[in-house]
């Protein structure tokens, strides 16, 4: 228990402030949506699938995050009981995932539709199972055992999507949770700690110029999850035109540009690297020097996503003109400039995990502004 509490305090804060904030946010979200009177027909499988995939992704981010790795170092320095540390670590990260992230998702779902007690319990257990399965899969992947985690995940998804029974999903979730607990029983706490960085071969580079573009490109390619997120956005750009059906009197094209500016990892470069932020504030002339090039880099990334989206729109719906290209460039530029401005003026501080950083409410400010602009342009056009 002591170990769990120690890890939990690092994740939630000394007085578990994160839990209180999350509960408050969930209550506000729930009652706001409930009061809005939205009633949707949502299939239980959608709830289970979303819960499972979302929780698994957040848990994966926590396990692979740099800060969690640094936390583990602190525990390894002290004498520890292996099984206790393994279970405590997995439980604390799982609790953080469910209480600070998945809880908001549940608040949205539960306010929008009526659910039975069985379905709510099943959703909760899907979340728990996702955290357990992800923890075990992480350990297996570290040992290059990829087949079993893939089959395990696929098996759960098949049950969720193709078995029309909440009881079956509940049973699958319980069985997965039990299996994860058994696997963790035999796991070593050291397997959670990443030694990979120390083992890499040192590369001597030929560059002599301090080019910010090059710096950002290296930053992007060195962090695989950032690269995946960016590529994912470009992938979404291909399918976005399919989601936008015909709306009378509203041009939906600009909404896609706004959504594609939501590249959180790249737009929180300074918040995510406090040492870099400190150095940029100490060196002279950085608002102009670094921030200008950072904006251009983001403009290039957003612009590429917008270009993919435009091409896809042209193929699916047609009627792309110069005006639309101009709007795409405008949104890409505004998204880049405002993101950098927010990072410079209002960096996110005191975050405990990369997940907290990536899901901070501030990340929605720029897309929200751009969505409003898109709505205005959509109506005006």
């Amino acid at each position: 228990m002591k170990t769990t509490r120690a890890i939990a305090r690092q994740l939630f804060g000394a007085k578990y402030e994160s839990i209180r904030k999350s509960l408050l946010a969930a209550c506000i979200l729930f009652f706001a949506l409930y009061a809005a009177g939205w009633e949707l027909e949502i299939a239980p499988s959608i709830l289970y699938l979303t819960t499972f995939c979302f929780s698994a992704d957040v848990m994966r981010q926590l396990l692979t995050g740099r800060r969690c790795g640094e936390r583990m170092e602190g525990f390894f320095v002290l004498p520890f009981e292996n099984r206790s540390l393994v279970y405590s670590y997995a439980a604390a990260l799982g609790a953080h995932t469910l209480l600070t992230k998945t809880l908001l998702l549940w608040a949205a779902f539960f306010s929008a539709a009526a659910w039975s007690f069985l379905e709510i319990v099943t959703a909760f257990l899907c979340g728990c199972a996702a955290c357990g399965v992800t923890a075990v899969s992480y350990l297996m992947c570290r040992k290059r055992k990829l087949v079993l985690p893939l089959c395990w995940g696929a098996g759960i998804l098949i049950v969720i999507l193709f078995v029309p029974s909440s009881a079956a999903v509940l049973a699958a979730a319980l069985a997965s949770l039990a299996a994860a607990a058994v696997c963790l029983y035999f796991a070593s706490a050291w397997d959670f700690y990443s030694f990979a960085a120390a083992a890499k071969k040192t590369i001597h580079r030929k560059g002599r110029t301090g080019n910010v573009f090059l710096y950002l490109a290296r930053y992007l390619t060195a962090n695989k999850s950032y690269l995946v997120n960016t590529a994912g956005l470009w992938g979404i750009a291909v399918f976005l035109p399919l989601l936008f059906g015909g709306f009378q009197g509203l041009d939906l094209l600009p909404f896609g540009f706004a959504i594609l500016c939501l590249n959180t990892p790249l737009c929180t470069l300074l918040s995510g690297d406090p040492d870099l932020e400190q150095a940029l504030r100490v060196l002279p002339g950085q608002p102009g020097r670094f921030c200008r090039q950072y904006s251009l880099f983001l403009f290039a990334v957003n612009g590429f996503a917008a270009a993919v989206y435009l091409c896809s729109w042209q193929l699916i719906r047609g009627e792309i003109g110069l005006w639309d290209v101009g709007i795409a460039a405008l949104f890409a530029l505004l998204g880049a400039v405002f993101s950098v401005l927010l990072e410079w003026k209002f960096p996110i501080r005191d975050w405990k995990t990369e997940s907290d950083l990536w899901r901070h409410p501030r990340k929605y400010l720029v897309p929200l502004f751009l969505l409003l602009l898109a709505a205005f342009l959509g109506i005006w056009r």
Binding site: T202, G207, L214, Y215, Y219, R281, P284, G285
Partner: protein, 236 residues
């Protein structure tokens, strides 16, 4: 004619929490072309002062700040372009190599790229100049920061615990660099290692209870004198 001071700060108070100032009525004068050591016990406020001078902290007030005879603020562009800071711990620009970082820093300061080959040799840093900074050890990262600092030659160098993490040879080389920097500008460095303070400083300031308690100069700078002053403060 009275020589103008390089930097004068009067009655600086700095706090992280409003009811608990770390520095209180802290005043310091720095002449041009001198080496000043700042020593104090853990938590005395050495790093806090350097971070304030870097413009990183907002919780402060002061009565007067003068740079080269002109009032200034820590975030003024002119002041920034004439000072360089080496922090005790610094993991910035992890995706630059040292050479790329030096080029970037020189452009930021608006100076030509300096020739640091002698500094690189002196710190035995030849094997690391083209390696990403994130792949360097703590000591090597410190060397990279120090080479950039001494290579850029600003009017004022602020060094926070510069000896930390350095090997023996590099430490000796650093002492020589600090002593020789008077030709180019002023060095203010904080340390809790008496040897580094005594070997290199023209003046030593003892930081205690949020302000400069005693100043040693010339022949007064001796380990036993400073140790005695620190012990007296510890027992207060």
């Amino acid at each position: 004619m009275k020589e103008e001071k390089l930097l004068s700060i009067d009655k600086l108070s700095v706090w992280y929490a409003a009811d608990r100032p770390v520095l209180s009525d802290f005043s310091i004068d720095l002449e041009a072309n001198e080496v000043v050591g700042l020593i104090g016990l853990n938590g005395a406020g050495k790093t806090t002062f350097i971070k304030t001078a870097a413009g990183l902290l907002e919780g402060y007030r002061l009565e007067r700040a003068v740079w080269n005879g002109q009032p200034f603020s820590f975030r003024d562009r002119e002041f920034k372009r004439n000072r360089y800071i080496v922090f005790a711990e610094d993991s910035s620009f992890p995706y630059f190599t040292f050479r790329e970082y030096l080029d970037y820093a020189a452009s930021s300061y608006g100076v030509p790229l300096p020739d640091v080959s002698e500094l690189v040799r002196g710190f035995h840093f030849e094997a690391y100049t083209d390696v990403l900074l994130k792949e360097l050890s703590t000591g090597s990262r410190k060397k990279a920061s120090l080479i950039a600092a001494f290579g850029l030659r600003p009017s004022l160098l602020l060094l926070d615990e510069p000896v930390n993490g350095l090997d023996f040879q590099s430490t000796e080389f650093l002492y020589r660099l600090i002593g020789g920097y008077k030709e180019y500008g002023t060095v203010l460095f904080s340390s809790h290692i008496l040897e580094s303070i005594c070997l290199t400083s023209d003046r030593v300031m003892v930081l205690e209870k949020g302000r400069i308690g005693r100043v040693f100069a010339g022949r007064e700078i001796a380990a036993e004198n400073i140790r005695e002053a620190l012990s007296a403060y510890e027992n207060d």
